[in-house]
Symmetry: C2
Subunit: 220 residues, 2 copies
Amino acid sequence: MHTIAIEHEILADNEALANHNRAHFLAHGVYVLNLMSAPGAGKTSLLERTLAELSPRYRIGVIEGDVYGREDADRIEKHGVPVVQINTGGACHLDAHLVHDQLERFDLDQLDVLVIENVGNLVCPAEFDLGETDKVMVLSVAEGDDKPKKYPVMFHVARVLLLNKIDLLPHVSFDVARATRDARALNLDLDVFPVSATTGEGLEPWYRWLEGRIARAKAR
Amino acid sequence: MHTIAIEHEILADNEALANHNRAHFLAHGVYVLNLMSAPGAGKTSLLERTLAELSPRYRIGVIEGDVYGREDADRIEKHGVPVVQINTGGACHLDAHLVHDQLERFDLDQLDVLVIENVGNLVCPAEFDLGETDKVMVLSVAEGDDKPKKYPVMFHVARVLLLNKIDLLPHVSFDVARATRDARALNLDLDVFPVSATTGEGLEPWYRWLEGRIARAKAR
Protein backbone atom coordinates (compact mmCIF):
# COMPACT_ATOMS: atom_id res chain seq x y z
CA MET A 1 0.00 0.00 0.00
CA HIS A 2 2.90 2.24 0.88
CA THR A 3 4.43 1.69 -2.56
CA ILE A 4 1.18 2.60 -4.29
CA ALA A 5 0.83 5.77 -2.19
CA ILE A 6 4.36 6.87 -3.07
CA GLU A 7 3.86 6.11 -6.77
CA HIS A 8 0.59 8.04 -6.77
CA GLU A 9 2.30 11.02 -5.15
CA ILE A 10 5.21 10.97 -7.60
CA LEU A 11 2.83 10.89 -10.59
CA ALA A 12 0.59 13.63 -9.12
CA ASP A 13 3.60 15.89 -8.49
CA ASN A 14 4.81 15.20 -12.01
CA GLU A 15 1.41 15.98 -13.53
CA ALA A 16 1.23 19.33 -11.73
CA LEU A 17 4.61 20.42 -13.04
CA ALA A 18 3.85 19.01 -16.51
CA ASN A 19 0.79 21.25 -16.66
CA HIS A 20 2.95 24.18 -15.61
CA ASN A 21 5.40 23.37 -18.44
CA ARG A 22 2.52 23.05 -20.89
CA ALA A 23 1.07 26.44 -19.98
CA HIS A 24 4.52 27.91 -20.51
CA PHE A 25 4.88 26.33 -23.97
CA LEU A 26 1.35 27.43 -24.94
CA ALA A 27 2.03 31.02 -23.87
CA HIS A 28 5.00 31.09 -26.24
CA GLY A 29 3.26 29.25 -29.09
CA VAL A 30 5.83 26.47 -29.03
CA TYR A 31 4.86 23.03 -30.31
CA VAL A 32 6.47 20.35 -28.13
CA LEU A 33 7.07 16.76 -29.15
CA ASN A 34 7.95 13.96 -26.71
CA LEU A 35 9.72 11.32 -28.81
CA MET A 36 9.80 7.87 -27.22
CA SER A 37 10.89 4.34 -28.10
CA ALA A 38 12.89 1.33 -26.97
CA PRO A 39 16.69 1.66 -27.19
CA GLY A 40 17.90 1.58 -30.79
CA ALA A 41 14.56 2.05 -32.55
CA GLY A 42 15.99 5.03 -34.41
CA LYS A 43 14.69 8.13 -32.58
CA THR A 44 17.87 10.14 -33.14
CA SER A 45 18.19 9.15 -36.81
CA LEU A 46 14.55 10.08 -37.43
CA LEU A 47 15.09 13.36 -35.64
CA GLU A 48 18.16 14.12 -37.77
CA ARG A 49 16.12 13.53 -40.95
CA THR A 50 13.26 15.63 -39.60
CA LEU A 51 15.60 18.49 -38.65
CA ALA A 52 17.15 18.47 -42.13
CA GLU A 53 13.65 18.76 -43.64
CA LEU A 54 12.04 21.24 -41.25
CA SER A 55 14.82 23.39 -39.77
CA PRO A 56 15.02 25.64 -42.87
CA ARG A 57 11.39 26.65 -42.20
CA TYR A 58 11.03 26.42 -38.42
CA ARG A 59 13.12 27.38 -35.41
CA ILE A 60 13.66 24.09 -33.59
CA GLY A 61 15.25 23.30 -30.23
CA VAL A 62 16.09 19.85 -28.91
CA ILE A 63 16.38 18.29 -25.46
CA GLU A 64 18.22 14.96 -25.45
CA GLY A 65 17.41 12.59 -22.60
CA ASP A 66 19.83 9.76 -21.85
CA VAL A 67 20.81 7.79 -18.80
CA TYR A 68 24.46 8.63 -19.46
CA GLY A 69 26.58 10.29 -22.14
CA ARG A 70 26.00 12.94 -24.79
CA GLU A 71 26.37 10.90 -27.98
CA ASP A 72 22.93 11.96 -29.23
CA ALA A 73 23.39 15.65 -28.37
CA ASP A 74 26.65 15.62 -30.34
CA ARG A 75 24.82 14.20 -33.37
CA ILE A 76 22.01 16.77 -33.13
CA GLU A 77 24.37 19.71 -32.60
CA LYS A 78 25.81 19.15 -36.09
CA HIS A 79 22.44 20.22 -37.51
CA GLY A 80 22.93 23.72 -36.11
CA VAL A 81 20.00 23.69 -33.70
CA PRO A 82 20.22 24.50 -29.98
CA VAL A 83 20.42 21.28 -27.98
CA VAL A 84 20.52 20.54 -24.26
CA GLN A 85 21.57 17.15 -22.91
CA ILE A 86 19.82 15.81 -19.82
CA ASN A 87 21.49 12.84 -18.12
CA THR A 88 19.16 11.05 -15.71
CA GLY A 89 22.13 9.35 -14.01
CA GLY A 90 20.31 6.05 -13.64
CA ALA A 91 16.63 6.89 -14.03
CA CYS A 92 14.92 5.20 -16.95
CA HIS A 93 12.74 8.12 -18.07
CA LEU A 94 12.53 11.90 -18.18
CA ASP A 95 10.05 13.67 -15.92
CA ALA A 96 8.47 17.13 -15.89
CA HIS A 97 10.98 18.36 -13.28
CA LEU A 98 14.03 17.43 -15.35
CA VAL A 99 12.54 19.22 -18.37
CA HIS A 100 11.44 22.25 -16.34
CA ASP A 101 14.98 22.69 -14.96
CA GLN A 102 16.34 23.09 -18.50
CA LEU A 103 13.73 25.45 -19.94
CA GLU A 104 15.61 28.61 -18.99
CA ARG A 105 18.37 27.46 -21.33
CA PHE A 106 16.06 28.11 -24.31
CA ASP A 107 14.59 31.42 -25.45
CA LEU A 108 11.07 30.10 -26.10
CA ASP A 109 10.12 33.29 -27.96
CA GLN A 110 12.72 32.28 -30.55
CA LEU A 111 11.37 28.74 -31.01
CA ASP A 112 8.54 27.21 -33.03
CA VAL A 113 9.22 23.63 -32.02
CA LEU A 114 10.87 21.87 -29.09
CA VAL A 115 11.64 18.18 -29.54
CA ILE A 116 12.32 16.18 -26.38
CA GLU A 117 13.99 12.86 -27.13
CA ASN A 118 13.21 10.64 -24.16
CA VAL A 119 15.35 7.86 -22.66
CA GLY A 120 15.16 4.65 -24.71
CA ASN A 121 12.54 2.63 -22.82
CA LEU A 122 9.11 1.29 -23.82
CA VAL A 123 7.68 1.30 -20.28
CA CYS A 124 8.12 4.23 -17.86
CA PRO A 125 8.37 7.22 -20.23
CA ALA A 126 4.74 6.51 -21.20
CA GLU A 127 3.63 7.31 -17.64
CA PHE A 128 5.46 10.63 -17.20
CA ASP A 129 3.84 13.62 -18.86
CA LEU A 130 6.47 16.28 -19.64
CA GLY A 131 4.03 18.99 -20.69
CA GLU A 132 4.43 18.11 -24.37
CA THR A 133 1.83 18.83 -27.03
CA ASP A 134 2.11 15.35 -28.56
CA LYS A 135 3.69 12.03 -27.68
CA VAL A 136 5.17 10.25 -30.69
CA MET A 137 6.55 6.74 -30.43
CA VAL A 138 8.93 4.86 -32.69
CA LEU A 139 8.87 1.09 -33.12
CA SER A 140 11.53 -0.54 -35.24
CA VAL A 141 10.35 -3.49 -37.34
CA ALA A 142 13.46 -5.33 -36.08
CA GLU A 143 11.85 -5.38 -32.62
CA GLY A 144 8.97 -7.61 -33.69
CA ASP A 145 5.24 -7.17 -34.28
CA ASP A 146 4.30 -8.47 -30.81
CA LYS A 147 5.21 -5.22 -29.06
CA PRO A 148 1.73 -3.60 -28.84
CA LYS A 149 0.51 -6.56 -26.77
CA LYS A 150 3.56 -6.51 -24.51
CA TYR A 151 3.94 -2.75 -23.95
CA PRO A 152 0.36 -1.48 -24.33
CA VAL A 153 0.63 1.77 -22.33
CA MET A 154 3.08 3.39 -24.74
CA PHE A 155 0.83 2.58 -27.72
CA HIS A 156 -2.20 3.82 -25.80
CA VAL A 157 -0.78 7.26 -24.99
CA ALA A 158 0.98 7.98 -28.30
CA ARG A 159 -0.61 10.15 -30.95
CA VAL A 160 1.62 8.83 -33.71
CA LEU A 161 3.42 5.56 -34.27
CA LEU A 162 6.43 5.78 -36.55
CA LEU A 163 7.06 2.21 -37.73
CA ASN A 164 10.75 2.61 -38.49
CA LYS A 165 13.40 0.60 -40.40
CA ILE A 166 10.95 -0.64 -43.06
CA ASP A 167 14.03 -1.09 -45.26
CA LEU A 168 14.64 -4.20 -43.08
CA LEU A 169 11.20 -5.73 -43.78
CA PRO A 170 12.57 -8.21 -46.36
CA HIS A 171 15.02 -9.52 -43.73
CA VAL A 172 12.89 -9.78 -40.58
CA SER A 173 9.62 -11.41 -39.63
CA PHE A 174 7.28 -8.48 -39.02
CA ASP A 175 3.63 -8.24 -40.02
CA VAL A 176 2.85 -4.53 -40.51
CA ALA A 177 -0.90 -5.21 -40.66
CA ARG A 178 -0.81 -7.16 -37.38
CA ALA A 179 1.24 -4.51 -35.54
CA THR A 180 -1.02 -1.73 -36.85
CA ARG A 181 -4.19 -3.61 -35.91
CA ASP A 182 -2.93 -4.44 -32.40
CA ALA A 183 -1.73 -0.87 -31.84
CA ARG A 184 -5.06 0.61 -33.00
CA ALA A 185 -6.93 -1.79 -30.74
CA LEU A 186 -5.24 0.11 -27.89
CA ASN A 187 -5.71 3.52 -29.46
CA LEU A 188 -8.35 4.09 -32.11
CA ASP A 189 -6.97 7.48 -33.18
CA LEU A 190 -3.34 6.43 -33.56
CA ASP A 191 -1.76 7.64 -36.80
CA VAL A 192 0.69 5.05 -38.12
CA PHE A 193 3.47 6.00 -40.55
CA PRO A 194 5.71 3.21 -41.88
CA VAL A 195 9.08 4.92 -42.50
CA SER A 196 12.80 4.38 -42.91
CA ALA A 197 15.20 6.89 -41.43
CA THR A 198 17.93 5.18 -43.46
CA THR A 199 16.40 5.44 -46.95
CA GLY A 200 13.93 8.26 -46.29
CA GLU A 201 11.01 6.14 -47.50
CA GLY A 202 7.62 7.12 -46.10
CA LEU A 203 8.80 10.27 -44.35
CA GLU A 204 6.79 12.81 -46.38
CA PRO A 205 3.44 12.09 -44.67
CA TRP A 206 5.17 12.37 -41.27
CA TYR A 207 6.65 15.77 -42.17
CA ARG A 208 3.24 17.01 -43.37
CA TRP A 209 1.54 15.73 -40.21
CA LEU A 210 4.10 17.57 -38.09
CA GLU A 211 3.69 20.80 -40.07
CA GLY A 212 -0.07 20.66 -39.46
CA ARG A 213 0.46 20.29 -35.73
CA ILE A 214 3.06 23.08 -35.56
CA ALA A 215 0.68 25.42 -37.41
CA ARG A 216 -2.11 24.56 -34.98
CA ALA A 217 0.10 25.27 -31.94
CA LYS A 218 1.06 28.67 -33.43
CA ALA A 219 -2.58 29.56 -34.14
CA ARG A 220 -3.74 28.93 -30.58
CA MET B 1 17.52 13.54 -0.47
CA HIS B 2 14.25 11.82 0.32
CA THR B 3 14.21 10.16 -3.11
CA ILE B 4 17.73 8.85 -2.64
CA ALA B 5 16.89 7.42 0.79
CA ILE B 6 13.84 5.59 -0.60
CA GLU B 7 15.81 4.25 -3.58
CA HIS B 8 18.56 3.04 -1.26
CA GLU B 9 16.01 1.26 0.93
CA ILE B 10 14.31 -0.41 -2.05
CA LEU B 11 17.62 -1.71 -3.39
CA ALA B 12 18.78 -2.90 0.06
CA ASP B 13 15.49 -4.78 0.61
CA ASN B 14 15.83 -6.29 -2.84
CA GLU B 15 19.41 -7.37 -2.23
CA ALA B 16 18.46 -9.12 1.00
CA LEU B 17 15.75 -11.15 -0.69
CA ALA B 18 17.97 -11.80 -3.74
CA ASN B 19 20.54 -13.37 -1.42
CA HIS B 20 17.79 -15.46 0.11
CA ASN B 21 16.75 -16.64 -3.37
CA ARG B 22 20.37 -17.38 -4.26
CA ALA B 23 20.93 -19.53 -1.16
CA HIS B 24 17.78 -21.44 -2.07
CA PHE B 25 19.00 -22.06 -5.64
CA LEU B 26 22.45 -23.10 -4.40
CA ALA B 27 20.98 -25.56 -1.90
CA HIS B 28 19.17 -27.27 -4.77
CA GLY B 29 22.09 -27.10 -7.22
CA VAL B 30 20.04 -25.08 -9.70
CA TYR B 31 21.87 -22.82 -12.15
CA VAL B 32 19.87 -19.60 -12.63
CA LEU B 33 20.16 -17.27 -15.58
CA ASN B 34 18.76 -13.72 -15.63
CA LEU B 35 18.26 -12.90 -19.32
CA MET B 36 18.01 -9.18 -20.07
CA SER B 37 17.78 -6.88 -23.08
CA ALA B 38 15.88 -4.00 -24.65
CA PRO B 39 12.46 -4.85 -26.11
CA GLY B 40 12.74 -6.89 -29.27
CA ALA B 41 16.42 -7.85 -29.03
CA GLY B 42 15.45 -11.50 -29.34
CA LYS B 43 15.56 -12.92 -25.79
CA THR B 44 12.63 -15.27 -26.33
CA SER B 45 13.86 -16.50 -29.72
CA LEU B 46 17.32 -17.17 -28.27
CA LEU B 47 15.73 -18.97 -25.35
CA GLU B 48 13.66 -21.13 -27.70
CA ARG B 49 16.82 -22.16 -29.60
CA THR B 50 18.65 -22.81 -26.34
CA LEU B 51 15.79 -24.94 -24.97
CA ALA B 52 15.71 -27.02 -28.17
CA GLU B 53 19.46 -27.66 -27.78
CA LEU B 54 19.72 -28.21 -24.03
CA SER B 55 16.35 -29.51 -22.81
CA PRO B 56 17.09 -33.10 -23.96
CA ARG B 57 20.03 -33.14 -21.51
CA TYR B 58 18.93 -30.80 -18.70
CA ARG B 59 15.73 -30.21 -16.74
CA ILE B 60 14.94 -26.56 -17.40
CA GLY B 61 12.30 -24.25 -15.96
CA VAL B 62 11.45 -20.76 -17.19
CA ILE B 63 10.04 -17.62 -15.58
CA GLU B 64 8.77 -15.07 -18.12
CA GLY B 65 8.70 -11.46 -16.99
CA ASP B 66 6.54 -9.01 -18.91
CA VAL B 67 4.70 -5.81 -18.12
CA TYR B 68 1.54 -7.31 -19.54
CA GLY B 69 0.44 -10.40 -21.45
CA ARG B 70 1.66 -13.98 -21.72
CA GLU B 71 2.79 -14.10 -25.35
CA ASP B 72 6.28 -15.25 -24.37
CA ALA B 73 5.09 -17.89 -21.90
CA ASP B 74 2.86 -19.34 -24.64
CA ARG B 75 5.88 -19.60 -26.95
CA ILE B 76 8.04 -21.26 -24.29
CA GLU B 77 5.31 -23.68 -23.20
CA LYS B 78 5.40 -25.30 -26.65
CA HIS B 79 8.90 -26.55 -25.83
CA GLY B 80 7.48 -28.74 -23.06
CA VAL B 81 9.24 -27.04 -20.15
CA PRO B 82 7.49 -25.71 -17.02
CA VAL B 83 6.95 -21.97 -17.38
CA VAL B 84 5.51 -19.33 -15.07
CA GLN B 85 4.46 -15.90 -16.33
CA ILE B 86 5.03 -12.88 -14.09
CA ASN B 87 3.21 -9.70 -15.09
CA THR B 88 4.63 -6.62 -13.40
CA GLY B 89 1.47 -4.64 -14.21
CA GLY B 90 3.39 -1.49 -15.03
CA ALA B 91 6.80 -1.95 -13.43
CA CYS B 92 9.69 -1.96 -15.89
CA HIS B 93 11.76 -4.71 -14.26
CA LEU B 94 11.55 -7.88 -12.21
CA ASP B 95 12.73 -7.80 -8.61
CA ALA B 96 13.72 -10.46 -6.08
CA HIS B 97 10.27 -10.35 -4.43
CA LEU B 98 8.40 -11.08 -7.65
CA VAL B 99 10.70 -14.04 -8.35
CA HIS B 100 10.54 -15.30 -4.75
CA ASP B 101 6.73 -15.33 -4.85
CA GLN B 102 6.80 -17.77 -7.78
CA LEU B 103 9.45 -20.20 -6.54
CA GLU B 104 6.99 -22.52 -4.84
CA ARG B 105 5.49 -23.19 -8.27
CA PHE B 106 8.67 -25.07 -9.24
CA ASP B 107 10.06 -28.25 -7.68
CA LEU B 108 13.69 -27.11 -7.55
CA ASP B 109 14.89 -30.65 -6.81
CA GLN B 110 13.62 -31.54 -10.28
CA LEU B 111 15.47 -28.70 -12.05
CA ASP B 112 19.04 -28.22 -13.29
CA VAL B 113 18.45 -24.78 -14.77
CA LEU B 114 16.04 -21.91 -14.20
CA VAL B 115 15.96 -19.20 -16.85
CA ILE B 116 14.36 -15.90 -15.86
CA GLU B 117 13.53 -13.76 -18.88
CA ASN B 118 13.37 -10.20 -17.59
CA VAL B 119 11.18 -7.33 -18.83
CA GLY B 120 12.55 -5.76 -22.02
CA ASN B 121 14.46 -2.75 -20.72
CA LEU B 122 18.14 -1.77 -20.87
CA VAL B 123 18.06 0.34 -17.69
CA CYS B 124 16.38 -0.83 -14.46
CA PRO B 125 16.70 -4.64 -14.68
CA ALA B 126 20.48 -4.14 -14.39
CA GLU B 127 20.02 -2.71 -10.88
CA PHE B 128 17.78 -5.43 -9.44
CA ASP B 129 19.53 -8.63 -8.42
CA LEU B 130 17.11 -11.58 -8.56
CA GLY B 131 19.42 -14.09 -6.90
CA GLU B 132 20.56 -15.45 -10.26
CA THR B 133 23.89 -17.18 -10.84
CA ASP B 134 24.65 -15.17 -14.00
CA LYS B 135 23.26 -12.14 -15.77
CA VAL B 136 23.28 -12.49 -19.56
CA MET B 137 22.35 -9.61 -21.82
CA VAL B 138 21.27 -9.58 -25.43
CA LEU B 139 21.95 -6.69 -27.79
CA SER B 140 20.53 -6.82 -31.30
CA VAL B 141 22.78 -5.39 -34.00
CA ALA B 142 19.68 -3.56 -35.28
CA GLU B 143 19.82 -1.42 -32.11
CA GLY B 144 23.15 0.21 -33.04
CA ASP B 145 26.72 -0.04 -31.78
CA ASP B 146 26.42 3.05 -29.53
CA LYS B 147 24.51 1.21 -26.81
CA PRO B 148 27.42 0.40 -24.42
CA LYS B 149 28.11 4.12 -24.05
CA LYS B 150 24.44 4.96 -23.52
CA TYR B 151 23.41 2.11 -21.19
CA PRO B 152 26.68 1.29 -19.39
CA VAL B 153 25.27 -0.33 -16.23
CA MET B 154 23.75 -3.29 -18.07
CA PHE B 155 27.05 -3.99 -19.87
CA HIS B 156 28.93 -3.60 -16.60
CA VAL B 157 26.90 -6.17 -14.66
CA ALA B 158 26.48 -8.80 -17.40
CA ARG B 159 28.69 -11.87 -17.55
CA VAL B 160 27.87 -12.56 -21.20
CA LEU B 161 26.83 -10.36 -24.10
CA LEU B 162 24.93 -12.15 -26.85
CA LEU B 163 25.25 -9.93 -29.90
CA ASN B 164 22.11 -11.12 -31.67
CA LYS B 165 20.66 -10.82 -35.21
CA ILE B 166 24.09 -10.96 -36.90
CA ASP B 167 22.18 -12.16 -40.00
CA LEU B 168 21.16 -8.46 -40.31
CA LEU B 169 24.77 -7.16 -40.33
CA PRO B 170 24.81 -6.69 -44.14
CA HIS B 171 21.71 -4.47 -43.85
CA VAL B 172 22.47 -2.25 -40.83
CA SER B 173 25.29 0.02 -39.78
CA PHE B 174 26.85 -1.81 -36.81
CA ASP B 175 30.55 -2.11 -36.02
CA VAL B 176 30.98 -5.37 -34.05
CA ALA B 177 34.56 -4.43 -33.08
CA ARG B 178 33.46 -1.04 -31.74
CA ALA B 179 30.56 -2.46 -29.72
CA THR B 180 32.78 -5.22 -28.29
CA ARG B 181 35.55 -2.76 -27.41
CA ASP B 182 33.16 -0.29 -25.74
CA ALA B 183 31.40 -3.09 -23.82
CA ARG B 184 34.71 -4.56 -22.60
CA ALA B 185 35.84 -1.09 -21.51
CA LEU B 186 32.97 -1.32 -19.01
CA ASN B 187 33.59 -4.95 -18.12
CA LEU B 188 36.97 -6.56 -18.77
CA ASP B 189 35.70 -10.11 -18.23
CA LEU B 190 32.65 -9.89 -20.48
CA ASP B 191 32.30 -12.87 -22.84
CA VAL B 192 30.88 -11.73 -26.18
CA PHE B 193 29.15 -14.18 -28.53
CA PRO B 194 27.95 -12.87 -31.90
CA VAL B 195 24.91 -15.02 -32.74
CA SER B 196 21.74 -15.25 -34.78
CA ALA B 197 18.65 -16.81 -33.23
CA THR B 198 17.15 -16.84 -36.74
CA THR B 199 19.87 -18.78 -38.60
CA GLY B 200 21.53 -20.45 -35.58
CA GLU B 201 24.91 -19.02 -36.52
CA GLY B 202 27.37 -18.65 -33.64
CA LEU B 203 25.22 -20.44 -31.06
CA GLU B 204 27.53 -23.43 -30.41
CA PRO B 205 30.03 -21.47 -28.24
CA TRP B 206 27.11 -20.06 -26.24
CA TYR B 207 25.68 -23.55 -25.60
CA ARG B 208 29.12 -24.82 -24.50
CA TRP B 209 29.59 -21.82 -22.21
CA LEU B 210 26.21 -22.47 -20.63
CA GLU B 211 26.95 -26.18 -20.14
CA GLY B 212 30.17 -25.29 -18.34
CA ARG B 213 28.31 -23.00 -15.99
CA ILE B 214 25.51 -25.53 -15.33
CA ALA B 215 28.13 -28.19 -14.48
CA ARG B 216 29.85 -25.83 -12.10
CA ALA B 217 26.58 -25.00 -10.29
CA LYS B 218 25.85 -28.75 -9.91
CA ALA B 219 29.34 -29.43 -8.54
CA ARG B 220 29.11 -26.83 -5.78
